[in-house]
């Protein structure tokens, strides 16, 4: 089981409150991603759950039991660190077996579990090596192995992929998702990368300055962002946000339209502008459109290859049903 409940949790470092009162429930078996820009408090929140930091007030419950004052060693959670934090003086086998040794499990059972974890993670051939002799991806897998052997109530991941190169990152993303499907254990995953969040999560928690901006499934966040912050943070390329008279026409303070919801034309359309930089990805083309009089630039995503060049005149038409409207506080107008 692994249901984690945060009840009016706050955290202050000295005078500075980094987490204002916060409530959150993570259900058993859920894959929850904390996402937000750097300094938003997402890693702090994870460390509070882990018990590596004290909460200043409130309560943390793990499976209905109050864990607020339980030390990390006794919370039954496993954590994968950004730096992997492998024990450099131990072989891979000993690294993975360490939590079992701490749990005073007998040697035979320990070996069985380590061998099983190693086979799942393709580490069988490396069990006698030291972490220093492994590649980044292999180290990552050892860190995961160390976490899974003890069958924790929940896994905590602190930006586990940020030290890997781009190709490996995509692979590991899939492996972790695969692992979640196999183990069905609660996972709490911290990242600043909204693509990771969108692709892996059952539930995303968007954090900003220690505050939860929105909680929801990836598609909920995409389709109905609760405010302009979430609207701008989720989705790539970013949603275009337009203020002023054009927004007023729609009875809003700000309107938002995603790049993929703007139709392009060389002849006619609602808005007119000039093509700046265009990025050709093959499957899509991104145009950065200037001189529309609406915003500094509007980003447009067109399918396939579109024959417009730098300086060309372009017409844009928003898909009206995909238009997001926000009030003066930045909140969504239903």
């Amino acid at each position: 089981m692994g249901r984690i409940t945060l009840d009016k949790v706050t955290k202050s470092f000295g005078e500075v409150q980094v987490i204002p009162p916060l409530d959150l429930t993570i259900d058993d078996g859920e894959f929850v991603v904390f996402v937000g820009p750097s300094g938003c408090g997402k890693s702090t929140l994870l460390r509070l759950i882990a018990g590596l930091e004290d909460i200043t007030s409130g309560q943390i419950r793990i499976d209905r039991e109050d864990a607020t004052h339980v030390p990390p060693a006794k919370r039954g959670l496993a954590m994968v660190f950004q730096s992997y934090a492998l024990y450099p003086h131990m072989s891979v086998r000993k690294n993975i077996a360490f939590p079992l040794k701490m749990a005073k499990m007998d040697a035979a059972e320990r070996d069985k579990r380590v061998d099983y974890a190693a086979s799942v993670l393709n580490l069988t051939d490396y069990l006698d090596r030291r972490p220093g002799q492994l590649s980044g991806g292999q180290r990552q897998r050892v860190a995961i192995g160390r976490a899974i052997v003890r069958e924790p109530a929940a896994f905590l991941f602190d930006e586990p992929l940020s030290n890997l190169d781009a190709a490996l990152r995509v692979n590991m993303r899939l492996e972790i998702s695969e692992l979640h499907n196999t183990l069905k254990t609660t996972m709490v995953y911290v990242t600043h990368d909204q693509v990771e969040a969108m692709t892996m999560a059952d539930k995303i928690v968007v954090l900003h300055a220690g505050r939860i901006e929105q909680v929801g499934s990836p598609l909920e966040l995409y389709h109905t962002p609760r405010n302009t912050f979430v609207a701008g943070f989720i989705g790539s390329p970013k949603m275009n946000l337009i203020e002023g008279p054009e927004a007023a026409k729609h009875a809003a303070h700000t309107i938002g339209i995603r790049p993929e919801h703007l139709d392009t034309s060389a002849e006619a359309g609602t808005w007119e502008g000039r093509v700046g930089v265009s990025e050709h990805l093959g499957s899509d083309t991104f145009f950065h459109v200037h001189d529309t009089g609406l915003a500094e630039t509007l980003t447009v995503r067109a399918s396939g290859e579109v024959a417009l060049r730098h300086g060309d005149r372009i017409f844009l038409t928003p898909q009206m049903d995909k238009l997001h409207r926000f009030d003066a506080e930045g909140l969504r107008i239903a």
Binding site: G51, F81, A85, L86, M102, R146
Partner: protein
């Protein structure tokens, strides 16, 4: 990148440096050479350099006459004992300061260092009287206590600088893996800090071995380590150069060898990490 230097320039550098180096080393070299001479050859006029009759008789005499090995053993017990006890007390403190730093950690380190600034002569009288009162004068235990205390700040400080280089993540990982404080320190931290601890131990053995204020003032015959043993050669045996040299060579040889191995760490240890 090292730049190419002409061979001639290199030869000149080598000549000057070796001359200076040998001059500085000469007293030690001369002592070692003299220890293998007979007493007559040792004071020969003009001095004999290498073509003398090499003999080990001085070493034998020194051992027979003044029981060198007992003093050697005292030095070993006192320096190793005080270092290991100091280490056992300092490891927990250094762990706390390196991994759970608070607002006052820096002040605490500074204060510990300041105890090292207390001139020994300032507390000579009370320590002497206390030792007399508790029967610690001229005992190994007494010297171990004093040397542990005077070197404790250096041990704490050195361990602290080494521990700080270990990422706290790894200790947190151990905590998450269910390790208690004991396992965190003994199974994870200490094995990772082996090189730093080795140099700490080495430097402190050297310092304790050569300590020559307390060892001279608190011992007589029984527990005297080599520092005090050699001081007893001051007169009149001091005039027997060959025997003095043999005793001196035996007193400095072990520590000289250890010192050469620890020269890099020496800088760091003696400057409290200010110069690395």
């Amino acid at each position: 990148m090292a730049r190419k230097v002409s061979t001639r320039r290199k030869a000149v550098n080598t000549g000057i440096a070796w001359t200076v180096g040998l001059l500085i080393f000469f007293p030690i070299l001369w002592t070692v050479l003299t220890s293998f001479k007979t007493e007559a050859q040792a004071i020969a006029d003009p001095p004999i350099w290498f073509n003398f009759h090499w003999t080990l008789e001085n070493y034998v005499t020194v051992q027979e006459r003044s029981n060198y090995f007992r003093h050697f053993w005292n030095s070993v017990v006192i320096s190793v004992g005080s270092t290991l006890i100091g280490l056992a007390i300092a490891v927990p403190a250094a762990w706390a300061m390196a991994f759970v730093p608070g607002k006052r950690t820096k002040d605490l380190l500074m204060w510990m260092l300041s105890t090292k600034m207390l001139p020994p002569v300032g507390v000579l009288v009370p320590i002497y009287l206390l030792f007399q009162r508790f029967g610690l004068l001229d005992t190994q235990v007494g010297l171990i206590i004093v040397l542990t205390l005077i070197n404790l700040p250096i041990i704490v400080w050195m361990l602290y600088t080494y521990f700080r280089e270990i990422p706290v993540d790894i200790l947190e990982a151990a905590r998450m893996d269910g390790a208690g404080l004991k396992d965190e320190v003994i199974s994870v931290l200490l094995p990772m800090a082996v090189p730093g601890m080795a140099s700490t131990v080495l430097l402190n053995i050297i310092l304790a071995w050569n300590e020559a204020f307390w060892t001279l003032n608190l011992t007589a015959a029984k527990a005297a380590p080599l520092t005090a043993f050699i001081a007893s050669y001051s007169s009149p045996e001091g005039l027997f150069y060959a025997k003095l040299s043999a005793a001196s060579t035996m007193a400095i040889a072990p520590i000289l060898i250890m010192g050469w191995f620890s020269q890099k760490q020496l800088v760091r240890g003696l400057t409290f990490g200010a110069v690395k």
